[in-house]
């Protein structure tokens, strides 16, 4: 039973939260010219790493707000919790973000906002 610190409510039992799976999956728009296989990368494929994983969580039985969490799937250590729309700030979190196979997919490239907007929206560098 993890102890998760909701950015809005404070530390609460895991049972109050629901896990929304892998974070930082950019959604390609319908007009992007992706092949079905490329689109399937976005739609169906989810990472399941041994080690640090960037996930989306929701304080379902609390404030109902979503946030991101960097959690080690082996040790269950929560390295950091950070807001939706931003990237991880920790070195380990940044490394996990960069290391994801998804960064190289066509779905990801198609969904990326223009460089200017991206600089504003994401703090991952």
């Amino acid at each position: 039973m993890l102890l998760i610190t909701c950015p809005h409510c404070g530390p609460r039992d895991e049972s109050e939260f629901s896990c929304g799976g892998e974070a930082h999956i950019a959604r390609p728009l319908a007009e992007n010219n992706l092949t079905d296989a490329e689109f399937a990368d976005y739609l169906f494929l989810r990472d399941n790493p041994k080690g640090l994983f960037l996930e989306r969580w929701r304080h379902a039985a609390g404030c109902r707000r979503w946030f991101n969490m960097a959690r080690d799937t082996v040790t269950h250590e929560i390295v950091e919790i950070y807001p939706m729309g931003s990237g991880p700030a920790s070195q380990a979190g940044k490394a996990a973000h960069a290391a994801s196979w998804r960064r190289d997919t066509a779905a990801e490239a198609a969904a990326k906002p223009a460089p200017k907007a991206r600089a504003k929206k994401e703090q991952v560098s």
Binding site: M1, L3, D13, E14, P28, A30, D36, F39, A60, W66
Partner: protein, 1020 residues
């Protein structure tokens, strides 16, 4: 009680025998408070402070159970929760609880206990024939025997299950007791209240920590309660313990939990505890729960669970009368019970010498048989000085007796005890106290993924590194010596307080006087018996699962080299005691058989619960009606008063149909369905999910959420919408109405309301945070009555509605605010029946008033209440789908023939790209069709599978399944909808629906629209 019953009871209840094995004085029992109890139909006496085990031993009852596999007679081995043999069923009727360890059951007046695993009686047991056939039950017996032929497995399984059960659950199923759950937080949780745990708790508490101290026994003190040769700060152990407990009890921030087992240790210092609140009481007060489940989140945890003594593995070591040496000492010193007169102490270490001295003091004859050759140390000297004979380099090679130990065979043995060196001699005896060294109870530490290391000197695994914020202390940490264990507890208490951010109190460890002993045992894992390998009487490793030393050897020879494989093949350590007394012996014997070192072989995984936890405590109050909330509409009272039957729809209780006198369900539903199309019907639709959507981007949001267009919907207009997942599959539907420029009222399916709200929030928060939209669940804010049928408008007028209902003024798919009987309402002209229909929403608290008012107004117009069953028939007549009935998460709008609702012009909406995948256009996707049975009276069972050729050999080629099927009184025949592969191409053709009984229903594939296909009735 009548006289005759008393007489009959007397036949079965002998007069309580004397407590022949009770010592003259001493112990922590209250001799002024005698207690009567019953075991296997016989009455006995014990004292308050006894456990069932100590009281049975006081009455010279050693035989308390039969073993699991061989049904061998078994006695009490231990004095604590590690007891593998003495499993009993306690209580009667609905309160009976199986598999309790007699060593943990506190005695109380009237306690009723039975032995287990015997038939017809403990002393004469038919199953013991297994023991005579023991060569047929080697390790892996089930795997080898019952796996072939596969067709016989069902037969074998029946026999095995009958034979394999351990204990018997309560005869009645409704548990009359109450259980509670409690959540708690603390700075320091101390698991185990022996010397180390007490000292740790004291130090943490003195440092200002919020402390919870839990111990599984009825009083704190642990092993110390059974020691008579120790003083602490000049006081007796009991005196020192009482002082510490009193100091802890006086501190507000300390919670003392005796009779509480910490049984689970989960991530982030989350621990689960079972507190046995009233199990020890003869007549528990009504206000107390029987047990409490504590869920504790601790900042720091101190594990001070102590250690378990290991048996020695020799032939006949499972006979009643063979006990652990430490347990014997505990029975003498703590319970005032001397479990034997002619006794043998068999050991590989110093500690058992303390038991020899205790037995000697209690007046028993003692012989010490020590596997070690070179005996030194003060304890050995003391024993010899007491005139007790000590045999060094000897072993008890065989213990024998029928249902109790009667004699032992003793012989000189080699260094490791495995080989008999010379002729044995025999000795009569009635108690054998054995000691194979101590194993720290590392269960919680391991559950929390702490690491273990092998201690070559102490011959045990002990904690090395922790994974959680925790500390180990005392015997559980491999620190067996009392003085050192107290110091270890003090250190851990301070370290935990410091780690919790507190200033550590300046406490000094108390002064200890205890026997000066070595804690180093001799490595002697399997004692020889003079026979060839694997021969001679059985030597048990795991008493509870009947695993012998030969089983372990056999498994090794058959190639089971991994300890995890050994465990599963032999079931070593897989019983309810999780091998507390057997794991290390089993590992050592396996290591020996494999020619490897013990640490190379490693340990198996420890899992919760440490000792079995009752399901009742885990369920707590969440049972019966409290298991899940039941949601009722505001009109529920009326439905009940008018004889409605109900069905569960999610958590809601919805009126299903309203049978009148003598009506069957079909009669009632037919009448309700007909009325809705000939006069008028009224449905309680309050359960529909309702979401209030506001914000400048509300329309844009809906436009992305639904498949159709929403930007240009006029204020006061309603629109049906279909919601997809991003994979293109239908997830929900409903009508949404624009109440204002930036304000919408959405309805969802009854079951989907919460999920849809979460879904919308997810998109707003995670994908489109730039959209300014605010969502509020208003399902409970509104009561909804739906009027449907040709007379619907007349009834609303009769009810006094203050707006024009002319279609020109109030067209289909629009909403008007109005008043009925002076109360404000929102009226939606939408229809799920195809009839002229009004959904009248009113503030929830007026729901019942609105309903009764409409019923009164409608009486002259034939207004008939209809339930969910009629609603289903009415919508099926029109071919309207129900999400979750026609759809199952693999159905697209196209599959439903609803292309019309999917926008071709919107650049994007959720699911749009997925619908364009090549696989979505495949012709053999399941498509929605109607089915018209050839025999018009025949209603197809829902879920029936359709085939094209009913004569095809099985397995037939399935086309798909019937999703909705009813008798339609308006059609005068059966109607059905189905999802069939390539269904639209089958239109006009025939499909067959084979039934289980061999019958085949024939049906024509038709459009899923059975009534008023042109929609001419919508305006009344």
């Amino acid at each position: 009680m009548t006289k005759s019953v008393m007489t009959r009871a007397g036949l079965f209840t002998r007069a309580a025998p004397q407590q022949l094995s009770r010592s003259a004085g001493g112990g922590r029992i209250d001799r002024s408070k005698p207690v009567s109890f019953t075991f296997d139909g016989c009455s006995y006496r014990g004292y308050e402070g006894d456990t069932l085990a100590s009281a049975l031993l006081a009455n010279n009852v050693h035989l308390v159970g039969r073993s699991f596999k061989y049904h061998r007679p078994r006695g009490i081995l231990a004095a604590g929760s590690e007891e593998p043999n003495a499993l009993v069923r306690v209580g009667r009727g609905a309160r009976a609880e199986p598999n309790l360890r007699a060593t943990q059951v506190e005695l109380h007046e009237g306690l009723y206990a039975e032995s287990q695993n015997r038939f017809p009686s403990l002393k004469f047991d038919v199953g013991a024939i297994n023991s005579a056939l023991q060569s047929f039950f080697p390790a892996g017996f089930y795997y080898k025997t019952f796996m072939w032929p596969a067709s016989m497995w069902m037969t074998y399984e029946h026999v095995i299950r009958h034979a394999a059960g351990l204990g018997r659950v309560a005869d009645e199923h409704d548990d009359p007791d109450r259980y509670e759950r409690i959540h708690a937080h603390c700075d320091v949780l101390v698991a185990g209240g022996g010397v180390a745990g007490l000292m740790a708790a004291l130090q943490a508490a003195r440092s200002g920590a919020r402390v919870i101290l839990a111990d599984e026994q009825n009083e704190f003190g642990g092993w110390l309660l059974g020691e008579a040769d120790v003083t602490i700060d000049g006081d007796t152990p009991a005196g020192w313990i009482a002082g510490v407990v009193a100091e802890l009890a006086a501190i507000d921030d300390v919670t003392l939990l005796p009779r509480t087992t910490v049984f689970g240790y989960m991530d982030h210092n989350y621990l689960t505890l079972t507190e046995r609140v009233t199990d020890h009481m003869a007549s528990p007060p009504a206000h107390l729960p029987r047990q409490r489940l504590w869920k504790v989140r601790a900042t720091q945890t101190i594990l001070a669970q102590g250690a378990h003594e290991r048996p020695l593995v020799f032939s006949g070591n499972d006979l009643p009368g063979v006990m652990l040496a430490g347990a014997v000492r505990t029975y003498i010193n703590r319970y005032g019970v001397v479990p034997g007169n002619r006794t043998v102490v068999f050991t590989n270490n110093d500690d058992a010498y303390r038991t020899a001295l205790a037995l000697d003091s209690a007046g028993a004859h003692v012989l010490v048989v020590d596997l070690r050759r070179d005996l030194r140390g003060e304890l050995v000297k003391s024993v010899r000085a007491a005139g007790i004979e000590v045999l060094s380099g000897h072993a008890v090679t065989i213990a024998s007796g029928t249902q109790h130990l009667a004699r032992v065979q003793i012989a000189p043995v080699n260094e490791g005890g495995s080989t008999v060196l010379d002729d044995p001699f025999h000795m009569d005896c009635d108690l054998l106290a054995m000691s194979g060294g101590l194993s720290p109870a590392v269960h919680l530490h391991s559950q929390a993924r702490g690491k273990l290391g092998w201690d070559d000197r102490l011959l045990c695994f002990k904690p090395t590194t922790v994974h959680e914020a925790s500390f180990n202390a005392g015997a559980g940490n491999g620190v067996f010596d009392t003085e050192k264990a107290i110091a270890d507890g003090l250190k851990a208490g301070g370290a935990a307080a410091k780690a919790a951010g507190l200033t550590v109190s300046d406490t000094e460890a108390p002064a200890i006087e205890a026997p000066n002993q070595s804690w180093r045992p001799l490595a002697a894992w399997k004692i020889g018996n003079g026979y060839g390998p694997g021969q001679g009487p059985k030597a048990f490793v795991d008493f509870q699962n009947d695993v012998t030393a030969s089983d372990v050897g056999l498994a090794a020879r058959e190639g089971y080299q991994s300890v995890e494989h050994l465990k599963r093949y032999t079931t070593l350590g897989m019983a309810t005691d999780q091998g507390k007394t057997s794991n290390i012996n089993g590992l050592a014997i396996l290591a020996d058989a494999l020619g490897r070192e013990i640490p190379e072989v490693g340990t198996t995984t420890f899992r919760m619960p440490y000792t079995p936890a009752s399901i009742g405590a885990i369920a707590g109050r969440d049972i019966g009606t409290l298991f899940d909330p039941t949601r009722l509409t505001r009109m529920d009272e009326w439905h009940r008063a008018n004889g409605a039957t109900f069905e569960h729809v999610g958590q809601w209780m919805r009126a299903w149909y309203y049978p009148k006198d003598g009506e069957t369900m079909q009669d009632a539903v037919n009448r309700e369905v007909l009325a809705a199309r000939t006069t008028a019907g009224i449905l309680d639709a309050s359960t529909l999910g309702k979401i209030d959507i506001r914000g400048p981007d509300a329309a844009e949001f809906l436009n992305r959420l639904y498949t159709n267009s929403w930007l240009k919907l006029g204020i006061g207009k309603c629109r049906y919408g279909l919601m997809l997942k991003d994979d293109g599959m239908v997830m929900d539907d409903g009508v949404t109405t624009r109440l204002g420029e930036n304000h919408f009222h959405m309805t969802t399916t009854t079951g989907g309301a919460a999920g849809v709200l979460d879904w919308m929030e997810e998109w707003l928060q995670t994908e489109w945070p730039d959209l300014k939209v605010y969502l509020t669940s208003v399902t409970e804010e509104w009561s909804v009555a739906t009027l449907s049928g040709p007379n619907a408008a007349k009834i609303l007028q009769a009810a006094g509605i203050d707006i024009s209902l002319d279609t020109a003024d109030f067209p289909f798919m629009s909403m008007r605010e109005a008043h009925i009987a002076g109360l404000p309402v929102r009226v939606f002209r939408i229809s799920f029946t195809g009839e002229l229909s009004y959904e009248i929403n009113i503030r929830a608290r007026h729901g019942l008033a609105l309903w009764t008012h409409l019923m009164a107004a409608g009486e002259a117009f034939g207004l008939t209440p209809y339930g969910t069953e009629a609603m289903h028939v009415l919508r099926a007549e029109k071919g309207f789908i129900i999400v979750g009935q026609e759809t199952d998460g693999s159905v697209t709008p196209q599959d439903l023939g609803m292309d019309w609702i999917v926008s071709k012009v919107k650049p994007d909406f959720i699911g749009k790209r997925a619908l364009e995948r090549a696989s979505m256009a495949m012709e053999d996707r399941k498509q929605l069709v109607g089915l018209r049975t050839r025999d018009r009276r025949r209603v197809i069972p829902e879920g029936a599978h359709a085939v094209l050729d009913p004569n095809e050999e099985m397995p037939m080629t399935m086309l798909g399944q019937v999703t909705s099927s009813y008798y339609s009184p308006n059609i005068g025949g059966s109607i059905a909808m189905a999802m069939l592969k390539g269904g639209r191409a089958l239109m006009g053709g025939t499909v067959y629906l084979p039934m289980l009984d061999g019958d085949v229903i024939e049906a024509e594939v038709v459009e899923p629209m059975f009534f008023d296909p042109k929609g001419e009735r919508i305006n009344g």
